[in-house]
Amino acid sequence: MADLTSNFLGIKSPNPFWLASAPPTDKEYNVRRAYEAGWGGVVWKTLGSEGPPVVNVNGPRYGAIYGADRRLLGLNNIELITDRPLQTNLEEITRVKKDYPDRALVVSIMVPCDEESWKAILPLVEETGADGIELNFGCPHGMAERGMGSAVGQVPEYIQMVTEWCKKYYSKPVIVKLTPNITDIRNPARAAKAGGADAVSLINTINSITSVDLDLMAPQPTIGGKGSHGGYCGPAVKPIAMNMVAEIARDPQTHGLPISGIGGVTTWRDAAEFMALGAGNVQVCTAAMTYGFKVVQEMISGLSQWMDEKGYTSVDQFVGMATPNVTDWQYLDLNYVTKAKIDQDACIKCGRCYIACEDTSHQAILMSEDRVFEVNDSECVACNLCVDVCPVENCITMVELPKGEVDPRTGQTRGDYANWTTHLNNPSAQAAE
């Protein structure tokens, strides 16, 4: 079995699976259960300043999107940071860290955007013996209305400033958790780096309305006839989160900055994908909230089986391996030609590829009287839609046209690598000549 030991910013954990700051890490009771179940680390539910704690709504705080058989695909919440006294949390953190020295314990913090507030809380957190802190600049609801959370995370200057304070008043690693509710994720990441952050973690939740109650005419979850936008997470957000991780990993200004990948991690494969794109570890919230802490067992066994199969002996060996293959569209090889091919033995004759191509693509699939479906290479643009809609895995595949052969659609011989930057139709390419 592969060694899953993870070393993120010098913080060691038996595996790279951490629980993200959220209800699963809200108190000692949960965190002890999580460690017992096998989680490598936790980021404690976000702490606020000393004083009366925040309050949560007393009506429903989650909404959901489902796939087949009520499989939860997306979760939305309007919960705030911890609603328990700071002192209680700090005592619990101290106790737990003492009892589980081999597990990672990072404390998430969100206090008002002034130096005094940070200066006040950081020594208290330092005293707990926790391994590091995570700055919650992401929470998109409630706290943002009070000038915290994503209200800070959306202003790069603030990120840099607060990170600097943290580095000044706290000795251990500082992770800056980013909000995805921003147009270009690279800017806050650059600001965090400039402020001296040891790492960024992303994504926090995405502003969302999951559904509308058509009888009440109100968004859900509905509190007394009204609803508020909430933060979206779970499997549905994974593609968005992965792109943001990759953007930071391949940005020359932030390349090499450690990343903790978050957003929809549900299985070992999700984790491996995030890590291949450059995340040093992953954090999980919704999967644990859906299935309980035991899900980590599958993540552990799956990742180690895959690593064994691939011959990886440590998790660091594949971190970032896919990053160099994420590029800009303009550098894609326009001479790379494929054609869809249907495996007639696997085809169950549902006709979905046909109607998708016929109605919405390039009329490149032929249907015979007796329901035999075949690709017409002289129309197929290789868009992949048929592959995507076919219910049978690997029934339609994209077959590469070897170099030197003629593409029956264009009548042109496939040539060597050439991209848009030098393409005839590209006005700037011509201008450059």
Binding site: D69, I348, C350, R352, R371
Partner: protein
């Protein structure tokens, strides 16, 4: 106390609660969640094979998608537009040889989308929550006589009424419904569904039902032709084939036994033999055998003269019979009944013809049912083809102004869904002729 072992033909072999369990729904209805999960398996095929296989051409992918999106009433309308007895068909269609047989998921994985059960979910929901979903067109002033209130007659009458014609539905029996009411196995149509469906269908208006009126006994085809603008015959097959063996008088027609069973309001009072033998190999044979067993007969045997492969009852029906404890005997034919036993002779195919081998065996039998096919008893003097009223694609008979459909008419399998399709299509043709469109 009477038990399955009590000799002779007696009632009350099983306790009331056991009987009521035995005759419960063959497939429990889906609840909303089960229906959505089942619906999610449908691929929404293009030019769907299931739809082609349905004799009434229901848009199956569409109605399943409507279930999936939480609108079962809209799904029911999709179904009922094509098949007004979609509720009964959902219960009785041999889906394993129709829509579900060709479902791409049956072909691919041997596990079809459960179209029949989904159809039931949709139609049950609509019937429970809404009134009749269709409205009549403006009255045309045309009148049509429909003879026989089985699936064919009901479907024809409904479509005609919807088009604004005024329909009189003549039925020889005391109740409308045809074999839905008198023939279909009890566990396929529980809670008096047949009668409830007829009442619901008639809510369209414009249909007058006259029960106890028989063509050939009081009513004549010529009379109807004179009094009405058009006539539709959906009289089914009223007679049964004879065994032509010694002791035949001791055998009962399976359809009569089933009709009695269907009309009984206390099945503990219905007598059944200790040792029952059913002669035949179709749906009727299976239904008579299974229901005998469910009433408490100790041993029930189906004796079919050909091989298993040739048996008209589907593999599903055969499996159902076997699961209920019915013994299936193949390649045997009856030669004599008497003294509480039946003598069967083994058969073999020689030179392409089935013949007795001379070897015989005897089975105890205090009750013998014959289920070797039904025959046409009302032909109205029309041209007959292979024992049925000859009709065109749209149900036209040899007489102008007279249409026919369902079991009594040529073409198509003898199934409820086929009868509905033929009744509906004849109605469309009648409408076209009457309105000159």
């Amino acid at each position: 106390m009477t038990t399955p072992m009590t000799p002779g033909i007696v009632s009350g072999r099983l306790a009331a609660d056991e009987i009521s369990r035995n005759f419960d729904d063959l497939h429990a209805p889906y609840d909303a969640h089960e229906a959505r999960v089942a619906a999610d398996r449908c691929y929404f095929c293009h030019d769907a094979p299931c739809m082609t296989a349905c004799p009434t051409s229901i848009d199956i992918p569409l109605f399943i998608r409507q279930i999936q999106t939480g609108t079962p009433e809209a799904a029911a309308k999709t179904i009922l537009t094509q098949n007004i007895l979609g509720g009964m068909c959902a219960r009785v269609c041999p889906t394993e040889t129709l829509c579900e047989e060709v479902c791409v998921r049956e072909v691919a994985e041997g596990k079809p989308v459960t179209i029949g059960r989904l159809q039931r979910y949709a139609t049950d929901t609509l019937m429970a929550r809404q009134g009749h979903p269709f409205a009549r067109a403006e009255a045309t002033g045309k009148t049509v006589a429909v003879v026989g209130a089985g699936p064919a007659g009901l479907a024809c009458a409904h479509r005609l009424a919807m088009k604004g014609h005024s329909v009189t539905l003549f039925e020889g029996r005391p109740k409308a419904g045809g074999l839905n009411e008198y023939g279909i196995a009890s566990y396929k149509s529980t809670d008096d569904f047949a009668a409830r469906e007829v009442a619901w269908l008639l809510e369209i208006g414009g249909i007058t039902v006259e029960t106890g009126k028989t063509l050939g006994d009081g009513l004549s085809l010529d009379g109807l032709k004179t009094d009405y603008d058009a006539v539709f015959l959906g009289v089914g097959l009223g007679g049964v084939n004879a065994l032509r063996i010694d002791g035949e008088e001791a055998a009962t027609a399976a359809v009569d036994f089933i009709a009695e069973l269907r009309q009984s309001d206390d099945l503990t009072m219905l007598p059944v033999g200790r040792n029952v033998v059913v002669i035949g190999g179709g749906m009727t044979a299976v239904d008579a055998a299974v229901q005998s067993k469910l009433l408490g007969a100790e041993s029930v045997t189906i004796a079919y003269r050909r091989s298993r492969d040739e048996m008209p009852a589907s593999t599903f029906e055969q499996g159902l019979a076997a699961a209920k404890g019915v013994r299936l005997l193949f390649n045997v034919m009856p030669v004599a009944i008497g003294d509480g036993a039946i003598t069967l002779e083994y058969t073999a195919t020689q030179n392409g013809k089935l013949a007795g081998t001379g070897e015989t065996m005897s089975l105890p039998a205090d009750q013998v049912f014959k289920a070797i096919g039904q025959t046409l008893t009302t032909d109205g003097g029309l041209v007959i083809e292979d024992g049925k009223i000859a009709v065109t694609d749209t149900g036209r008979t040899s007489a102008t102004g007279v249409w026919a459909g369902g079991d009594c008419a040529s073409g198509g399998e003898d199934l409820t869904v086929t009868a509905v399709a033929e009744g509906r299509d004849a109605a469309e043709d009648i409408h076209a002729v009457l309105m000159g469109v």
